[in-house]
């Protein structure tokens, strides 16, 4: 008879059943291979381009520090959100995590970053502070006028005919010195990250 106490006792006092009951561990405590953990170093040399720090969406999560003669990115676990963007942004494959680098190589994806210079014409007083303060302008035209005028067309922006012209914003390195010196907060630098696949936009 299938429903007697003896049937139940025989059913439940089996070695395998007891083992499952007391020692069952359904999910092994290991992370799956697709899991993105914290970015780890691959051993390739860091060139200190700081792409990883620029793309990082969280404050204080990654820092490129000097160790002897080389630069090494450091990840701070309490701040990092494991998005994997630093791995994708790095042109030298210094960092790797999960399958990010593998997928990136397979799909030939790239992240490029440029900076957009926006000037609010109604707030700008054409003082030329931004033109003079910009370190890229100083490299491009050492003869820069004190009021922001320049005879050179290689500068990022310059004052001409009493107006501020942004000529080469692709040269901007995103240092935001111009934002700091602007008396009216008229100039703004925006970082534009663009993802491309196999050279196509």
């Amino acid at each position: 008879m299938g429903f007697s106490i003896i049937w139940y006792l025989r059913e439940f006092i089996r070695g395998e059943w007891l083992k499952n009951f007391f020692f069952a561990k359904t999910a092994p405590l290991v992370d799956p291979p697709y899991f993105r953990g914290y970015p780890a170093l691959t051993g390739k040399e860091c060139t200190h381009c700081l792409s990883c720090m620029m793309i990082c969406p969280t404050p204080g999560a990654i820092e490129v520090l000097r160790e002897g003669e080389t630069w090494t990115p450091h990840i701070y676990p309490g701040h990092c959100i494991r998005c994997g963007l630093c791995v994708e942004a790095c042109p030298e494959d210094v960092l790797d995590v999960g399958r990010v680098l593998e997928t990136q190589h397979r799909d030939q994806t790239e992240i490029s970053v440029r900076y957009q210079v926006t000037v609010k014409p109604e707030a700008c007083v054409r003082c030329g502070n931004c033109v003079v303060a910009c370190p890229v302008n100083k490299e491009a035209d050492p003869q820069l006028g004190a009021t922001g005028t320049s005879a050179n067309d290689e500068v990022i922006m310059k004052i001409r005919n009493g107006n501020l012209w942004v000529i080469h914003d692709e040269k901007c390195t995103g240092c935001k010195t111009c934002e700091e010196v602007c008396p009216t907060d008229a100039i703004a630098i925006a970082r534009v990250a663009e993802g491309t696949q196999e050279g196509k936009a």
Binding site: T26, A27, L29, D31, T58, H79, I81
Partner: protein, 152 residues
């Protein structure tokens, strides 16, 4: 004989960890990961971890969230209600750094270790359920084993 008794106590204690969790202002991402630990995929209770929402019957407090100012005194009260031996684990980035909420104008007061003693932290935004379980399982024996001998 006392050794054997102590070993038995330690074995039982390592299979009976009672956990309370408190959300001090998170985005609910970490709460969902803690709840995922309860699901059949991870099944917390097979490791002997039991979740209560009552600090008086808890051993371990899971602190989630970046600690808004409203929680400062209440978190301390919750911590004081837990009977000894006790430990607090910070879950996620928020109790460590404030994560996305710790921006200009954010009304938060991280880290949580300013308000209550934190024994371990599980960083991540959010951390995996496996990481949470692993933290609880590795912390509990060090806190609860031979507790009588550690008492002052």
């Amino acid at each position: 004989m006392t050794d054997l008794l102590q070993k038995l106590k330690n074995a039982v204690r390592s299979r009976s960890i009672h956990v309370a969790y408190v959300d001090t202002g998170s985005c609910n991402g970490c709460d969902i990961e803690v709840l995922a630990c309860l699901s059949p995929r991870y099944d917390l209770e097979q490791y002997g971890i039991y979740v209560h929402n009552n600090p008086r019957e808890a051993d371990i407090l899971l602190v989630i969230g970046c600690c808004t100012p409203q929680w400062e005194d209440k978190l301390k009260e919750v911590w004081e209600k837990i009977p000894e031996p006790k430990a607090a684990i910070a879950i996620g980035n928020c109790p460590v750094s404030g994560c996305v909420f710790n921006r200009e104008g954010g009304y938060v007061n991280p880290p949580v270790s300013k308000h209550i003693p934190i024994a371990a932290s599980v960083p991540g935004c959010p951390p995996r359920p496996t990481e949470i379980i692993r933290a609880v399982l590795s912390l509990a024996p060090t806190i609860f084993a031979d507790y009588e001998e550690k008492k002052p």
